[in-house]
């Protein structure tokens, strides 16, 4: 023995160690190493367990190779495990590898060999593969194993082959049907029987139902899908075409007689579609289709907005575009680029061409374009303004023009009404609503718009007329019936205030016609009783008031209603004398939560029809009662409702007492602290002293920190005052940044702010200017303002402008702002 051989013998691992090492390699997925180890062991001693382990290693290695797509190598590795019967260690994997390599006969033999050795479920699957392969590449069959159906495998195979060949050769359907019936449905060829049956059936629904019986996991599923596509109608086939594989497309094309070049062109079109509109347009322009010039042009035209750089190609092929087409394409293309200024420019040009066009439908098309322009102007407020009407609200302008072109467009009409409602322009809103009612007299939405627009102008009689039109269309609309009463009541109050008691009575009588018999309207009953009362006290008519009060919930709420109604009807206080005793009793009743809230609700009702001045006498009476309710432990929501109602009615002393009590109960109640400041200043921010102003901003900060945005916004509204209104209006018109304000907006804002500078009186400014000089005074003011909250809102340049304006104002040389927009 040589030294080297001796060293090897000394250091060589034992079989036991090798076996353990091989097992570890198997566990760790190192199948190549495991194969080598077990091969080495088998060379020393061919133990059955090591043979088994080697086969495991081959199978593992084959699986790893197949996962990498190396099917040929995987099949070669698995062939190391071939048993005498022709089966391998992993028959399904082996079969799959052979099929993927297109070794059809070998795969067929492997499938037939594996059928007999596998468990039933796997055997059925392999048998179906064998069936499909046998039909694809017919060859003599030597296996007798039959996983399902009657008869032997060769018999089933022969029946299926015969039927398929008969169908392919174009034999009559009856003959094919006779042959199909020989294929057992439960055999591995059952799916083929269903497919052939569907292909000879004339009933499309039945054919699809037959195909639906083949499961998606079947080895014949690809044939099933192709048959289904071949039998479907053209639009459905088009929907499926891109999903069909080439072999399936070929089958469908042959069955339907589709020429090869056409199906190839369709594939090219679908491929170009994936690459984008430009690629598709290029293909269509280049290829074209005989006899379809018009369709081709229309298809290309619709692709142009997404591929405007292909315009030259288009015009070269189809000639120049008509002005209508050109503007439309350019506008759509601009929209695709989100270039809204150009989009509106081209749409405007298109509308103008359509306006001049005499073709039928042109005016309707113009209206559609103008409505779209209104949509664009609404969603993109930064669009450049119309040259011919630079001050106009573009949305309203385009909608008005759209309605001129198409007066019957309800959508545009409603959009216009909404626009005017939102723009706080009751005059325009009312004008548009009146026009809308003429055009759409039976549309409840239009009529309700008209009601609201009329109310906004205090035209209650007119509003009642519109409401009556709604009820003519929809007589059982309960909310509108109630609205009708409120409107008639509001009209009656207006008449009474102008000294026309007779007309007021008439209006109230008309209102009572809308009352529900089971639910009398307390305000109406009280108003009727009061209007019917002669100026000199009359116990008989006073009884009517008493009865109405009882119907309105009795004392004290009923009597408060009487007081409110009397105020709205412009009664002097002394006319309430017959009821003083009851009113006195109402004051003496301690306020309770429900009554206070009901009273607040009463004061906040819509269509009250009275100015604040009209209800001032009533407020004086209510104040005496409400003050007593300040000690009730109001919830935050209740407090906010009461406080806001009082602020709206300018009942500041009472509000102050409510807020003070609420702060005493809870010092952390931000809303109460705010309303305390608001009421203390009489609702005027200018009334706050320096400490109160600081307190206001500190509460705002705290509200912001607590994310109480409703309160924050309310405080901001109070803190900014008229300047805030100007800024909000500018935001509404789309000026999102203060830097973008034009001269006119800035002048307006500065004027508003300058008018709100009580802490820097003109005299002090003049003194500063006299002492420091104009420039230094302005600099100092800018520096002071930069440290205030305004410093966060304005740029230095804007502050400079603002302070210059203040100085000029103080020195009585205030520049005149240009006309409001």
């Amino acid at each position: 023995m040589t030294k080297s051989a001796m060293r090897k013998a000394v250091f060589a691992p034992s079989p036991q160690e090798l076996s353990e090492s091989g097992a570890a390699a198997l566990r760790q997925g190192r199948f190549k190493d495991a194969t080598e180890i077990f091969k080495q062991l088998l060379r020393q001693d061919p133990r059955p367990e090591w043979k088994q382990r080697l086969a495991d290693a081959y199978a593992g290695r084959a699986r790893a190779l197949a996962e990498k797509g190396m099917f040929k190598e995987a099949a070669i590795v698995l062939e190391n495990t071939l048993a005498p019967g022709g089966t391998t260690r992993e028959p399904l994997l082996y079969l799959s590898c052979l099929i993927r390599q297109n070794q059809i006969q070998k795969a067929r033999r492997a499938a037939l060999a594996a059928m007999a050795t596998l468990p039933a479920a796997e055997a059925a699957r392999v048998a179906e593969a064998a069936a499909a392969l046998s039909l694809a590449a017919p060859a003599p069959t030597v296996v007798g194993a039959t996983p399902g159906g009657s008869g032997t495998w060769p018999e089933q195979n022969r029946a299926a082959e015969t039927a398929l060949r008969a169908w392919l050769q174009g034999q009559p359907a009856d003959e094919v049907d006779r042959l199909i019936s020989r294929i057992p449905l439960r055999s591995s060829f059952g799916a083929m029987r269903l497919i052939l049956k569907s292909l000879i059936t004339h009933d499309a629904a039945k054919a699809q139902a037959l195909l639906a019986m083949i499961p998606a996991a079947s080895l014949f599923a690809g044939v099933r899908d192709a048959a289904g596509a071949a039998l479907s109608d053209a639009p459905d086939l088009l929907g499926h075409w891109a999903r069909l594989r080439p072999a399936q497309q070929q089958f469908v094309a042959e069955m339907r007689g589709i020429p090869r070049d056409r199906s190839a062109l369709l594939n090219q079109i679908q491929d170009a579609e994936q690459r984008g509109p430009a690629a598709l347009l290029s293909l269509l322009v280049r290829r074209g289709l005989p006899l379809l010039e018009e369709e081709l042009r229309a298809a290309c035209l619709n692709l142009l907005p997404a591929a405007p750089d292909r315009m030259a190609q288009f015009t070269q092929r189809f000639g120049p575009l008509q002005p209508i087409e050109h503007n439309r394409i350019a506008a759509l293309s601009a929209e695709a680029r989100k270039d809204w200024d150009h989009a509106i420019l081209y749409w405007r040009a298109l509308a103008s061409v359509l306006e001049r066009d005499k073709a039928p439908g042109s005016r309707l098309a113009e209206a559609v374009v103008l409505r779209h322009m209104a949509d664009l102007a609404r969603t993109h407020p930064d669009i450049d303004e119309e040259e011919e009407a630079p001050e106009a609200d573009l949305v309203a302008l385009y909608l008005e023009r759209s309605l001129q072109a198409d007066p019957t467009d309800l959508t545009a009409m409603l959009a216009l009404l909404d626009r005017y409602r939102a723009s706080d322009d009751p005059k325009e809103w009312y004008r548009a609503a009146e026009l809308a009612v003429v055009r759409f007299p039976h549309n409840p939405i239009v009529l309700l718009h008209a009601v609201d627009a009329a109310v906004a102008r205090d035209a209650f009689k007119k509003a009642a007329g519109f409401a009556q039109q709604v009820l003519a269309v929809d007589p059982i609309n309960l909310p509108v019936r109630q609205r009708m009463i409120e409107l008639q009541l509001a009209h009656a109050r207006k008449q009474a205030r102008s000294g026309r008691a007779d007309l007021a009575a008439k209006s109230l009588e008309e209102a009572s016609a809308w009352e529900r018999s089971d639910k009398p309207d307390p305000s109406l009953r009280i108003a009727r009783a009061l209007v019917a009362m002669p100026k000199t006290a009359d116990p008989a008519t006073a009884d009517a008031v008493h009865a109405a009060v009882q119907e309105a919930g009795g004392s004290p709420l009923g009597w408060f209603r009487v007081v409110l109604e009397a105020s709205l009807l412009n009664w002097p206080a002394k006319r309430l004398q017959p009821f003083h005793r009851e009113l006195q009793a109402a004051y003496e009743t301690p306020p309770d939560r429900a009554t206070v809230l009901a009273l607040i609700g009463l004061l906040g009702q819509r269509d009250l029809g009275g100015t604040r001045r009209a209800i001032t006498p009533a407020l004086r009476v209510f104040d005496q009662y409400l003050i007593g309710g300040r000690h009730i432990d109001w919830s935050p929501a209740e407090f906010l409702t009461i406080a806001e109602a009082m602020a709206n009615l300018r009942c500041y002393p009472t509000l102050h007492r409510y807020a003070t009590s609420a702060v005493q109960r809870d010092a952390g109640n931000l809303a109460a602290r705010f309303y305390q400041l608001l009421a203390g200043s009489g609702g005027n921010r200018e009334g706050l002293n320096h400490a109160e102003e600081s307190e206001l901003f500190s509460i705002m900060d705290e509200a912001g920190t607590r994310q109480d945005f409703a309160l924050f916004n309310r405080m901001q509204k109070f803190a900014l005052g008229p300047a805030g209104k100007a800024m909000r209006r500018m935001r509404k018109t789309g000026k999102s940044s203060l830097d973008e304000l034009d001269e006119e907006d800035t002048a307006e804002l500065l004027t508003a702010l300058a008018g709100e500078m009580p802490s820097v009186p003109a005299k002090e400014i003049r003194n500063m200017v006299n002492h420091l000089g104009r420039g230094a005074a302005i600099e100092m003011m800018v520096s002071l303002l930069s440290q205030s909250s305004m410093g966060e809102m304005f740029s230095k340049q804007q502050m400079q402008q603002f302070c210059t304006a203040l100085v000029e104002q103080a020195m009585d040389r205030r520049p005149q702002p240009r006309g409001r927009r």
């Binding site: 994997l93 079969l95 099929i99 993927r100 392999v126 593969a129 499909a132 039909l135 694809a136 590449a137 398929l164 169908w167 392919l168 050769q169 174009g170 996991a217 080895l219 599923a221 690809g222 044939v223 192709a226 053209a234 639009p235 088009l238 075409w241 594989r245 080439p246 072999a247 399936q248 070929q250 089958f251 042959e254 069955m255 339907r256 007689g257 589709i258 056409r262 199906s263 062109l265 369709l266 079109i269 269509l284 289709l289 369709e295 081709l296 229309a298 298809a299 619709n302 692709l303 907005p305 997404a306 929209e335 695709a336 439908g361 309707l364 098309a365 209206a367 559609v368 198409d406 467009d409």
Partner: protein, 107 residues
Amino acid sequence: MRMSDDPFTTLGVDENAGDDEIRRRYLELVRAWPPDREPEKFQALRQAYEAVSGLRQRLEWKLLHTSTSALSRLKLHCLAGPDAQQRRPTEAAMTALLLDSVQHADL
């Protein structure tokens, strides 16, 4: 620009079709895809019909959208055979289809 399902394509009608033709086609399709059996398909048909059932709506579609119906008709032209007759494929096409089916099935 809004790109969405083209109602003309969904209904399979020309952009220049009138109210009567569109309604006739819609009713045909509803008979083929009744709402109780094909609720989703019916919903799509209904939406398409509502989108183009009036002249104003059709104009809106034609002016403000890029229609795909002409392209669809081109594609359908590519799929059209010489007649409605069903033919039998060649043996080679059938063999290729069977092999393709087995090759793409999950064993």
